[in-house]
Symmetry: C2
Subunit: 194 residues, 2 copies
DNA sequence: CTATTAAACAAACACTTGTTTGGTAAGTCA
DNA sequence: TGACTTACCAAACAAGTGTTTGTTTAATAG
């Protein structure tokens, strides 16, 4: 383990590093981003990164952790004020779509970089992902659905549809995250409350 | 351009090459697979691959082309004998899920390796993808749906949900491709025919 | 039997990768 | 003042990357 201690104001550089790395990982992918790319982005020499982080993998781990914390918070904020289970689902789904597309690069990294790209930490990364998906699962529990509905498959369907948005969504495209979420959720809602 | 000509029986080695590459690309990804990995898999020296293909990128292009041809065929075979639009959708969706998970590595590569990983051919790769997605779109046109339904978003939802299956599906898991397809399509069907 | 071609080998090339090492200027603290 | 620490630079390291080159073997065609 390296610094990560909060003393001094050094964490400003540390933070800049993580942010630059997150930007690059989110847009180019993990493998396609080199330590030299990251160093250049923060105006630093490649070797100097190793004062702050032990390895490229550790850098990703830190980003994943921050990303999950952020998406979890965004998600809960979007949902907490609502009571109706369907409204909660819709708001949560919209938060997911925003996280995958518009939101900070931290959250985007989580859905862009798959755990199997980093064998050393694949277990930890999967755990971080699960942490968020559990929140999503809670949402579904609140819904009253027809007996034919398999909640597990429903979760995977919505998660997959949301996740996939990162490949086609455009901020200035035809639809907003809210509109997309509303459409996706409506199929579930209409078929459950018939 | 290199051989690709069908003379001699040399295309047995050529074919072995493409198959080995497809296997590796499908399981490890494009960037994570080196020409040396591929060479080793077919018991050949790295340089020798360049007798058959001009570059690693060209190798992927060939795989994409073969993969799209295969998934298109599988898809049409699954659908052609059916008349009912809903049955056709369900069969098509099941074919997609099988292509993403169980089927040959050629089809899996298409969904595992994204076009932006190969800038040189990203246009061509996107065109190949679109070629298949157009088939899927045709299926949706046959459905009679409620006025609130946006067909474009519906397509993206189903495509995303199917695509995502590659991350969690297991051949000896709880569900078959058919069961998954049936569940996904049912949400659409129930909400459209209420 | 010879000329040509297909298919591969052996070895390198130029470059990029993540990472390590030794040193150093600036600041902190006793 | 002197010891210690923080944050970095400069330079290299070993390994791996896609690819090229010159050469060789085996088959085929005239």
């Amino acid at each position: 383990m390296k610094p990560q201690r909060s003393n001094s104001r050094s964490n400003s550089r540390n933070r800049a590093l993580v942010e630059a790395a997150a930007d690059l990982f989110a847009s180019q992918g993990f493998k396609a981003t080199s330590m030299r790319d990251i160093a250049r982005a923060v105006d630093m020499l490649p070797g100097s990164i190793y004062y702050h982080f032990d390895s490229k993998d550790d850098l990703l781990l830190a980003i994943y952790e921050a990303g999950v914390a952020q998406i979890t918070q965004t998600f809960e904020e979007a949902v907490e004020s609502l009571d109706d289970p369907w409204a909660r689902l819709e708001a949560g789904m919209a938060a997911l779509i925003r996280a995958v597309t518009e939101e900070s690069s931290f959250t985007r990294v989580i859905f862009k970089v798959t755990p199997d790209e980093v064998p050393k930490y694949s277990g930890e990364l999967i755990a971080f992902r699960d942490q968020f998906e559990a929140k999503f699962e809670e949402l579904l529990e609140g819904l009253s659905l027809q007996p034919w509905v398999n909640r597990q498959l429903l979760r995977l369907m919505l998660l997959g549809a949301g996740n996939h948005a990162q490949l086609w969504f455009s901020p200035d495209g035809d639809y907003s995250a809210d509109e997309i979420s509303e459409q996706f959720c409506r199929f579930v809602k209409e078929s459950a409350t018939r």
